[in-house]
């Protein structure tokens, strides 16, 4: 039965394709004229699955940037399109998408990824075809330490952000810390460096624990409460960090909380509420500047809310900036190429040639391996339990740190 | 008006034509028995009457009401109870819970205690074992429980499928005399039996089923003496 069905099916496919093939050339003839001036910029981030909250907003940030900042290129006669890909947080899918991306000559730049585990193998593919990649979120040192000329990132590295946190804690007179992380490449990466620097600064590390738990931190809190550290540090995202902090406060912990730029979301205040303010308060280090320093951020949040009816998640602003850098580099490369579509190599070179590009999360110049030179790092204090006041949180410290080479 | 009237009944299992036009009548107050070899269609006939098997052709009427539109659990409410082959007691429930389930179709439980008393007078053994888990009863006790449970539903027509199966001759004797008693108290009975001798002895009338059709019918006592029946079902020479 099924063989017969397939036989008929294949006959029908052949027949219909023959028809389609006759029709195709007609369509194909008119395409090239327009296609010449089409430039695509791809995004890759998890659009499905449990990491999609952040992944979708990276894409949205990039989309918003394209809509707001696409004018110069449009003025030069280019039609700039967004090509969003879903890497599902899965290396296999990411690599396959990467190969699809590099096989489309119209794509000149890639904004992505969210997971370092996906970015690292996928960027091998970008590298082989010289396609520029600006990463909005990958803090793993390996992203750039491979030294590929196409691969850049606009976020700080784990090995710096962890250090920033630890240095700040030492300044605050913290004597003992308990380090928790979320068992992701991102969170654990930061936490490891935080721990290393804390020990170097003479603080006592009373515990170092990873947990994939999202809800019930009771078991983890017993040793924390027993150790009673001055500071609990969480390497990871706000979704877990805020829940942990809330539960710790509820158990009577009075010390300080600290986290990384994954904590930068007004939802953190929604979850944690008053418990973030109580005791010795809550701090987080971040590479994205607060609204007071970067007026663009406030506008970005308003625009984002207007466009998508929700608050931007972490890395949405970085998605915006990554796209902005792609657009600017393509514009520069196109100008150098007499307003014709530039080559991928020239776009990659143009990104490295950018000087003090002002984005909404910082001012970017890239070093020889694609890290931003002297990225600004901020330590921010959570001032209010009110989520709407999140963007008014005060800066506790500002640091300019060059990434390790 | 006949208690039950089955006319030209057909059923299929997949492609197999199991019942090929069965017709039978049961009058109010009778004991009627169906005898026949294994696979002749006796159990299928019972299952068709109580709605467990879909019929494909023919009618089943209970006191002139067509049973076809009703599902198995609704037919119980019409006053037809069946004691299934292999008893089908709920092995992990207690004896009294089994009996309560028998009365599931009755709207309220006012008569429950009286009904229970009635069943216990018929089967005193069950009263002794009231709290026991049914799975731990002996085969004969389980058969009593199955019959008692069916009686709890106040059936007008009681269908019995192989009540003698797996029981010792003495127990068979006692079960059959109980069946006769139940019948005397006014319940019409359709009995399917392998043990043709016993069945024909207590039955008013009997039908002989062969490969899905009625091969013979007549009074129980007459069939007992019919040479063909003796040869085929009573082990005679």
């Amino acid at each position: 039965m099924s063989k017969r069905l397939f036989a008929v099916a294949s006959l029908l496919i052949v027949a219909s394709m023959l028809l389609a093939a006759c029709g195709a050339p007609a369509a194909a003839t008119q395409a090239p004229a327009a296609a010449d001036k089409v430039i695509k910029i791809a995004t890759q981030s998890p659009l499905s699955g449990d990491m999609s909250a952040v992944g979708v907003d990276i894409k949205r940030g990039a989309e918003l940037a394209l809509n707001q900042l696409g004018a110069p290129l449009a003025g030069m006669g280019f039609k700039v399109e967004l090509a969003p890909f879903d890497d599902q947080g899965n290396p296999d899918t990411g690599v396959a998408n990467a190969k699809q991306i590099v096989s489309d000559p119209a794509i000149l730049c890639v904004v992505g990824h969210y997971n370092s585990g996906v970015q690292i193998p996928s960027s091998e593919v970008y590298h082989t075809s010289g396609l520029a990649n600006v990463s909005p979120a990958n803090t793993n040192p390996k992203v750039t330490t491979r030294g590929y000329p196409e691969i850049n990132r606009i976020v700080g590295r784990d090995d710096v952000q962890g250090v920033v946190g630890a240095d700040f804690a030492a300044e605050k007179g913290v004597k003992s810390v308990f380090v928790v992380h979320d068992k992701t490449a991102y969170g654990q990466g930061i936490a490891e460096f935080f721990k290393k620097e804390s020990e170097a600064k003479g603080m006592q590390v009373l515990g170092f624990e990873g947990t994939e738990e999202k809800a019930n931190f009771d078991a983890l809190l017993s040793p924390i409460m027993a150790a009673n550290p001055d500071l609990v540090y969480f390497g990871g995202m706000y979704g877990q960090a805020a829940v942990l902090f809330k539960q710790a406060r509820a158990k009577g912990f009075q010390g300080m909380f600290m986290s990384d730029d994954g904590f930068d979301s007004s939802d953190a205040a929604k979850i944690g509420g008053q418990s973030l303010i109580d005791g010795a308060g809550t701090y987080y280090s971040t590479v994205s500047g607060p609204a007071t320093l970067y007026p663009g951020t406030a506008k970005f949040i308003t625009d984002f809310k207007a466009a998508y009816n929700s608050d931007p998640q972490p890395f949405a602003a970085q998605g915006y900036d990554s796209m902005a850098i792609c657009l600017k580099a393509i514009e520069d490369a196109a100008k150098a190429n007499n307003n014709a579509v530039p080559t991928r190599e020239s776009v990659a070179k143009a990104i490295r040639a950018l000087k003090d590009f002002v984005g909404i999360t910082g001012t970017f110049t890239f070093n020889s391996i694609g890290d931003p030179t002297s990225a600004k790092y901020f330590v921010i204090k959570v001032d209010s339990a009110d989520p709407t006041a999140w963007s008014k949180n005060s800066i506790a410290e500002t640091l300019d740190i060059a990434p390790p080479q | 008006m006949a208690m039950l009237e089955v006319t030209n009944l057909h059923t299929y299992y997949g492609n197999i034509h199991a019942l090929k036009g069965i017709s039978l009548t049961i009058e109010q107050g009778e004991i009627v028995t169906l005898i026949g070899a294994n696979g002749a269609g006796k159990t299928t006939t019972l299952r068709a009457i109580c709605g467990l098997v879909k019929t494909q052709g023919g009618t089943i009427q209970l006191e002139s009401e067509d049973l076809n539109p009703y599902k198995a659990h609704q037919i119980v409410y019409k006053g037809v109870s069946m004691v299934p082959e292999g008893r089908g007691v709920f092995a992990r429930l207690s004896v009294s819970e089994n009996l309560d389930l028998g009365a599931y179709s009755l709207p309220d439980r006012k008569t429950r205690d009286a009904d229970l008393e009635k069943v216990f007078t018929i089967f005193p053994r069950l009263k002794e074992r009231e709290k026991q888990i049914a799975g731990t009863l002996s085969g004969g006790e389980q058969q009593m429980l199955a019959i008692g449970r069916a009686l709890m539903a106040h059936p007008r027509l009681l269908l019995l499928d192989e009540p003698s199966m797996g029981l010792s001759p003495i127990l068979v004797e006692s079960i059959f005399s109980t069946v006769k008693d139940i019948n005397r108290q006014g319940t019409t009975i359709l009995l399917v039996e392998q043990n043709a001798q016993m069945a024909l002895t207590i039955a008013d009338r009997a039908y002989v089923l062969e490969s899905g059709i009625i091969a013979m019918q007549g009074k129980g006592s007459e069939l007992l003496e019919d040479p063909r029946v003796i040869k085929a079902y009573l082990g005679g020479q």
Binding site: A9, P91, I120, E212 | -
Partner: protein
Amino acid sequence: MANFDLNKLTQKIQQGVWPIIITLAHLILGVTLVYLNPRSNLAFLLMISSFLSLYALKTPVLFKLVTGALLALVIIPVIGVRNIFYLEVIFQISVFSALALGLNIVVGFAGLLDLGYVAFYAVGAYLWAFFGSQQYYVLHFAPGTQPSNLPFLLPSDMFYLFIFLAIIAAALTGILLGTPVLRLRGDYLAIVTLGFGEVIRVLANNLDKPLNFTNGPQGITPIQKPPMPPAFVDIFNSVFGRFVGHTASVADMYNVMFYIYALVVIIIIIVVTRRLNDSKIGRAWTAIREDETAAIAMGIPLVKMKLAAFATGASFAGVMGVLLAGSRTFVSPESFSFMQSIGVLTMVILGGSGSIPGVILGAATVTILNLQILQGLSLYLSQLRQSDAVIPIINFAWKNLSNQLDPAKYQRLLFGLILILMMIFRPEGLIPAKRQKRELASDKVEVKG
């Protein structure tokens, strides 16, 4: 068309030279279209689907073999190097076909539902990831803090040895897990294997302390690829260079190489499963699948036979794990999530549990669906959204379509739907296993007799 008679048509196209003509037409048309439109997904689908014609139409076995070999070994590499995305899709189809065929031994033949199959895949992958990288030298470093410029522990040609070691390691893991749990009833087994899959993933995620074996969530990279003989690249370029259109790089040829390795694994799995299936073991599996109690009564050593199925299936996953580690040069716990196990299971169920061509079709369908169709639709939608196009009748501008509705976001929804609908309407899959048919037929005869 009014009197369209399906039967007549099928009979006609299965007779005489028609099958050969149709197959060749399908193939040639597909290849030509792909060649002319190197980035058209439809053309690619047409080319890939010519395997179906090859399978379904009645042509001489020799014709099938020669055409199939030509397609698999010459045309696909050439087309693939022309557009490396296709090569990636085909590579993933072959990887997942191999995995699905391995799981098929467990689920399809022995009827044991394994929800943690990728655990064995992970065992193979991490085996080579540890020994084929610098990980040995960073045992005492926390993830992310290790120095760079370390030597590799083993030379890269040890890759081939590790393929065999992975067979042993994965089979042993299978036996280790199977021995205690295979006595359990089917659905318990499903949950225990699910748990086991999670355990392996959590171990991979956490074995970065006290000694750093797996580098935790950061994953292990770089992992060595087996050496590529330079002659291979040169020969390919000199023979096929002008068809490809550009010189193939070493990276391209690695893709071809791993594709061919996966193909070899698939052929070996097919041979092994066919052999096993026709042997005593295969009959024992069928008996266990159909009725465990009866199988025991027939004197079949239940646990032993189940273990055999478990270990065989596991060992194939182990081999594919080594290939994965080598081809990606990167391994991290994210590749071995529960979703991955469900994906492979979906392939088996969709194609036809127990049926070798079915399972391959299932793997191809799911992979293409995931990589090409859903992504393609999302891209198309996103283009529409950026244009001024309007849906004609209801006068709805595409711009206003919420981008929450991207098809690529709803892979799980689709997988779920496929699983439910297949179970309701076609539990035996797209291409049902032949053996089941035979049994059903014999059942009927028995009853009638």
